[in-house]
Symmetry: C2
Subunit: 482 residues, 2 copies
Amino acid sequence: MDTPRTKVTAIAGDGIGPEVMRATQRILEAGGARIEWENAIAGGEAFRKGIATGCPQETLDSIASTGLALKSPLETPVGFGEKSANVTLRKFFELYGNIRPVRELPGIRTPFSGRHIDMVIVRENVEDLYAGIEYEQTAGVAECLKLMSDPGCERILRLAYALARAEGRSKLACSTKANIMKMSEGTMKRVFERISGDYPGITPSHVIIDNCAHQLVIAPEQFDVVVTSNMNGDIISDLAAGLVGGLGIAPSSNLGDQAAMFEAVHGSAPQIAGKGLANPTALLLAAVMLLRHIGDFAAAGRIEQAVFVTLEEGRNLTGDIAAPGAGTGTDAYTDQVIANLGRISSMPSRDYQPVVMPHWADEVWHQAPAARELVGVDLFLESGEAPEALAASLQQSLSGSAFTLKMLSNRGTQVWPPAGGHSFLIDHFQARLLLPAPTPGDADGEIAELLGRLAGSHRWMHLEKLQRFDGRDAYAKAQGEG
Amino acid sequence: MDTPRTKVTAIAGDGIGPEVMRATQRILEAGGARIEWENAIAGGEAFRKGIATGCPQETLDSIASTGLALKSPLETPVGFGEKSANVTLRKFFELYGNIRPVRELPGIRTPFSGRHIDMVIVRENVEDLYAGIEYEQTAGVAECLKLMSDPGCERILRLAYALARAEGRSKLACSTKANIMKMSEGTMKRVFERISGDYPGITPSHVIIDNCAHQLVIAPEQFDVVVTSNMNGDIISDLAAGLVGGLGIAPSSNLGDQAAMFEAVHGSAPQIAGKGLANPTALLLAAVMLLRHIGDFAAAGRIEQAVFVTLEEGRNLTGDIAAPGAGTGTDAYTDQVIANLGRISSMPSRDYQPVVMPHWADEVWHQAPAARELVGVDLFLESGEAPEALAASLQQSLSGSAFTLKMLSNRGTQVWPPAGGHSFLIDHFQARLLLPAPTPGDADGEIAELLGRLAGSHRWMHLEKLQRFDGRDAYAKAQGEG
């Protein structure tokens, strides 16, 4: 009696996508994986049909129903859409965990060959600068909000720990820029310190992100699992892929509470599309990750070993990884991998267990502080005036209001009262306005009155409350602020 | 008759700082550099004297007067100060250009040896996330403002072009994340495209930052000059240093309109301080950059060649770069470099010309659009309610106001009206409130009225105006927003 098949949504994608998808599906079938494919479209084909997100509803419905997707590279054709179909899929299914295995492969020569690089980069995938909240605040000064949340960090950190456990790994390095961004990047470091005690047997460490990038080049073999925030992870995951042969053979998964999507990291390579030259290894290794995700460790190991044997022996490799002049095509490589099914390479597959995903309640995360106070507001102003003149006119407008001007900063450096030093100034000032004393209330009436009295005299574009939570200042001081 | 000496402020710094400074000063003197040192303190010694910035006024005055500093590593002792003395110095003198040469050195073996890596990373040094403007907006959700300005980008880009010219380099790659952060990182890309025509003979290219990190590992020899924003540059400059031997031998300069500071990239290495073991190469190569900055190309070349000869021959190297067991001390290495003055290595010094720094008027940069409109506001709310309930209560409060609720987003993804999909929600919502039509005015009265009517019913912490400049939207759409 056959094992029942698991339904997986297959997105053949653009460029070389259909070719590498066909090759992968052939190898999975030959390797004994019990998959039933639901074909769906996304990317170029969808954009050209007029679907602004690049993802038809039927595709979203299919993934919602299967909970699993294998996805080839997608294009965002020039002139279509503000957001890519890839981002749409990640956001729609809240795929918060991007998993990027980085392992030295047999037969793939790099400057680091022989050092046994074998790590996983875990990248937070939905918050941070990628929330995409941007404003052009003056005509020439743009702002992007970097948002990092306690639960957003906890989810990715617990996923990284769960993954380390499932793969039998003993070290987890959390990499942040908490030394400079003490609140935002600091959130990830603080949550890491808070929860690490829950995972005995896995040694935690913290490494500043620039040092992490440096260490990845100097001594990459020291890393086991690295977890980091979205923008940092974007950079170091591609860096790390380069250490073991590049994006062309790098698989990834994107994990969420309700779906998981597996994909190659490389692009759609339109210049070789349809020529039968594409290397399907990255998508195939992503499919191996999928098999482990659904618990089919036997098929996963069999296929992975067949790939390793093929790379090790170097017969019938595609042109991108073959010896010069010895490259063959997608079909020959696929046939070779299938022929090698059942063989064992010199590099063992790791011993994998199922990943136990952290569980989160399906409700709005909210944590009210026990005590709140309002200290004042930061008002961001557009002005071409020098700081002294701007301060004087602001003070005049504030006369009789609830607020007094504490300082002006320009791109984070205090420029009034003058702190000395040279600052090249732009037309974007932060005015820190304080109430006479911290108040337990919201002071919304006072703020409304403030805005009313500034109308016509000062042009502002952004207002932030200066809060205190449980007695701690919930805002940073400017450079030079006393 | 002696050439007059150039005054340079020398900050001996912490840990191994005084040792590497003495070694560097001895070699410069022996190499014929005509420098008069003004000794000044900063870092640990200053913090312990109670100077909260880590920089005494006399030190700032000395640099302001000489316009030149050579600086050893500084410490921020635990428990002292919110900001490091390094950051204070960079901000005080507006040292907006961080220059990081990355060149394969003779005798320093790395996985990339023989590939002739020879590039310069130019990092913007004062704006971006390093403005340090942060808020904890709810008790668990932190925001850092990423600010990028047209003139801030133009300054660093023109400096990178000037540097490329001065060093006879033919390619400049600008690296951004403009594909995701179209406004902030996009500013740098747009300015790059606008000004590149002013520099015939230098080939411009744009590379996405994650691909840049990947290419730096895959094919670093392709790069000549790379210019990028502050956070990106922090990461890739340390990555690139790792390609040629690490931070221990990496020099840097920090350039501004009124001062230039030269330093080693490495830290103060307290564990070996005072033992005579420190390697002064990084600070010495920074001093060579200083000599070129002041036009003493002869002494710079002489000293650089003596360093290259010493590394090439491998005699009397410090323990960090010597063959195992063959390491010597700071003094022996210093004597060896001095003994090699006048000799020529197998690796020629590049031909340098003076860097012609871009000139900027000393006034507030301001560029008013020809036409302005206000579309509405984004109000950021703290709420534990589900989106439907929050939208309903907001709509009730807005009834009769100038504004209507267009959408709610949570970390950048639209959650009301529901766009389908799964979103893990946090207590931090963006409410997009629109006026009936874009208005040429500021609508400050309407906004004040809005805040008054929300007082007591909705807790908000952040307000942004939705502006239009010259007919273009000056704000990004949320993921899923129509």
